[in-house]
Amino acid sequence: MLLEIRNLHAAVEGKEILRGIDLAVDAGEVHAVMGPNGSGKSTLAQVIAGHPGYTVTAGEVLYEGRNLLEMPPEVRAREGVFLAFQYPVGLPGVANAQFLKAAVNATRTHRGLEELDAMEFLEWLKQKMALVEMDASFISRPVNEGFSGGEKKRNEILQMALLEPKLAILDETDSGLDIDALRIVAGGINQLRRPDNAILLVTHYQRILSYVTPDRVHVLAGGRIVKSGDRALALELEARGYDWIQEEAEALSR
């Protein structure tokens, strides 16, 4: 199993957000995690990536059989865990090429590979930029500064393509995208889909699932997975909204 989450509880500023998540994702799979606003979707994504603002109060997360929660965020990244941020952060004064080269080489060094020099990296970057239809001027622009919403999301997909993660978590990467950007982003995700890695798609809408077909769909409500199913569940949510799920969950917990 690539990722195994058992009874995960997590809190932010003393407030419990995740209340016992169980989830197993195997290599080669795409899982969608859906749910209404405030259900804990983003918290789950951030906790897996190691955001210091969240405290894990119970449970465990195993990544390739090892305790992921013990690893600092940068080690998780080098080990192949990637989070595409819902709100990518701007880095004033830091050029994309500078940032991405540092990131790629940190991971390569960790994996026992030689660092790429400036020329090799640029080649590699240009290949991946073509994938997400990124303009050449992007190379020297500061990271996520003055980017449109769509550009920021494409930049996250570009970083994912460069870092070649084993486990990619995409936190509402589809939200706020127009149809062209959505197509580009979905294309990038599908490129990464291989038998040896897995994708966790955190999303509010099923729209992206028409481009990236999930193997499993989970519905999160009140910090727990209240329902799991296949692609049909996503369509049902699209048709009926989230209220019935929440009612079902509340009925169960009574």
């Binding site: 210091p52 990244a77 990637f82 830091v94 940190a106």
Partner: protein, 442 residues
């Protein structure tokens, strides 16, 4: 003997040995030392020195009249500080004295004059006398000491209509082993009508000794003259540096500077720009990167004495350890200086809780129809940003170094002289290794 008395006694001693320079200069030296005798060193009670204590300087026993200038370094020793541009003219000064051996004089266009100011007192006596600080000008303690004691420095005169394409590096090397010395470099840069030059003024140390550099650079700009002036401070971690740049701008002249302070225990940078005629344009940029117990103080005075002149200032500080930064930006808009457009900004990145900054804008506006703005911001690296960078595989130190570098970039990108920018980018990267700034230069 107090520090003041030591300086006065040293001047007496020089007088006994015979003051250098022509009669008019000896007279100025006398006036200047009298001025110093009257005022002494400033104390924190002086508004201009409120946040900068001179105690470390006045407590140092300086050797004010050493018997020799100290050993001349080898070319290899100074090579790391020479901008990597073999076609540039480079004037090298060792412990304040011009070194013909280490300097590199390249052919310059037209009748550009360049060399040692000490020699120019003889070869270009009239030009120097006319432009060097007017008699009776009010001098503060350090300017007075410089006026009394200076022996040498750089002289550059670019005639009307001449453009010097290649930048010129002025390299001041402190070698002073043993007792602490004081150097008083005096530079004079004169730009004629519609002339243009680029000057890179750099102060560096071989070794980690205590000394004081007390430099004065005078810039006189003719109508539509243009000067790009870069200053790089790599003084030793025990050194003191007080530097004043005085700029006199004629109509439509354009002065642009960037001062980067990386080394020095106590550094005071002053810029006084007099926008004396209509259309003058003055752009000051600065970056100070300090850690440990370093202290970096920037004082600027932009004097809008004529209508429709423009000034822009951007000073950024990176402070770690128990370092202290001071920024005092004074803008004076004189009566009649209508249409003045002035802006000033000071931003500081605090890498430790113990670092401290005092930032003070000082706007004195006596004219109408004036655009005058200022802004100041102090902050730390945001946790969310550090997490974002870490989530891409960089550890804490690398993340902090990268983001700190990014903060400095806004200033560095304004340096258009590629070899200098590359040099500074390298110096800064080395300075930020490990994500911390320490007192000693790497």
């Amino acid at each position: 003997m107090t520090s003041k008395e030591t300086f006065l006694a040293a001047f007496d001693e020089l007088q006994r040995r015979g003051l250098t320079g022509p009669a008019w200069l000896r007279e100025r030296r006398g006036e200047a030392i009298a001025r110093f005798a009257e005022r002494g060193f400033p104390t924190p009670r002086d508004e201009d020195w409120k946040y900068t204590s001179l105690a470390p300087i006045t407590a140092t026993a300086f050797d004010l009249n050493p018997d020799d200038d100290g050993p001349e370094p080898s070319e290899e020793a100074i090579a790391p500080f020479c901008v990597d541009a073999p076609t540039w003219t480079r004037l090298v000064f060792v412990n304040g004295r011009f070194s013909a051996k280490l300097s590199m004089l390249r052919p310059l266009p037209g009748s550009v004059r360049i060399g040692s100011l000490g020699e120019a007192l003889i070869t270009d006596a009239d030009a120097v006398r006319a432009r060097l600080q007017a008699p009776g000008e009010p001098l503060d303690a350090f300017a007075a000491l410089n006026a009394a004691f200076w022996q040498d420095g750089a002289f550059l005169e670019v005639p009307d209509g001449v453009t010097v394409d290649e930048p010129i590096q002025l390299l001041f090397v402190a070698t002073t082993p043993g007792r602490a010395r004081v150097h008083h470099p005096r530079n004079l840069i004169v730009l004629g009508r519609e002339s243009h030059a680029t000057v890179v003024e750099s102060y560096v140390a071989l070794g980690a000794d205590t000394y004081l550099t007390n430099a004065v650079t005078e810039v006189v700009m003719g109508p539509s003259g243009r000067l790009d002036h870069l200053e790089i401070l790599l003084e030793s971690g025990r050194a003191f540096h007080v530097g004043a740049t005085r700029v006199h701008q004629a109509r439509d002249s354009r002065y642009a500077s960037c001062a980067v302070t990386l080394g020095g225990r106590l550094v005071r940078n002053e810029v006084h720009a007099l926008l004396a005629a209509e259309g003058a344009d003055c752009r000051l940029n600065g970056l100070y990167v300090v850690g440990g117990r370093q202290h970096a103080d920037t004082h600027t005075v932009i004097d809008h004495a004529s209508p429709r002149a423009t000034s822009r200032q951007l000073y950024k500080g990176i402070l770690d350890g128990r370092a202290r930064g001071v920024f005092n930006g004074r803008i004076i808009v004189r009566p009649g200086a209508d249409g003045t457009d002035a802006h000033q900004a000071n931003k500081n990145l605090m890498l430790s809780d113990e670092a401290e900054v005092d930032s003070k804008p000082q706007l004195e506006i006596f004219a109408d129809d004036v655009k005058c703005g200022h802004g100041a911001a102090d902050g730390q690296l945001p946790a969310e940003t550090i997490f974002y960078v870490k989530s891409r595989g960089l550890d804490e130190a690398a993340a902090r170094a990268l983001l700190t570098y990014g903060f400095a970039h806004e200033v560095l990108e304004r340096i258009h002289v590629a070899p200098v920018r590359t040099w500074l980018e390298g110096l800064l990267t080395a300075r930020l290794t490990g994500g911390r700034v320490t007192e000693e230069l790497a």
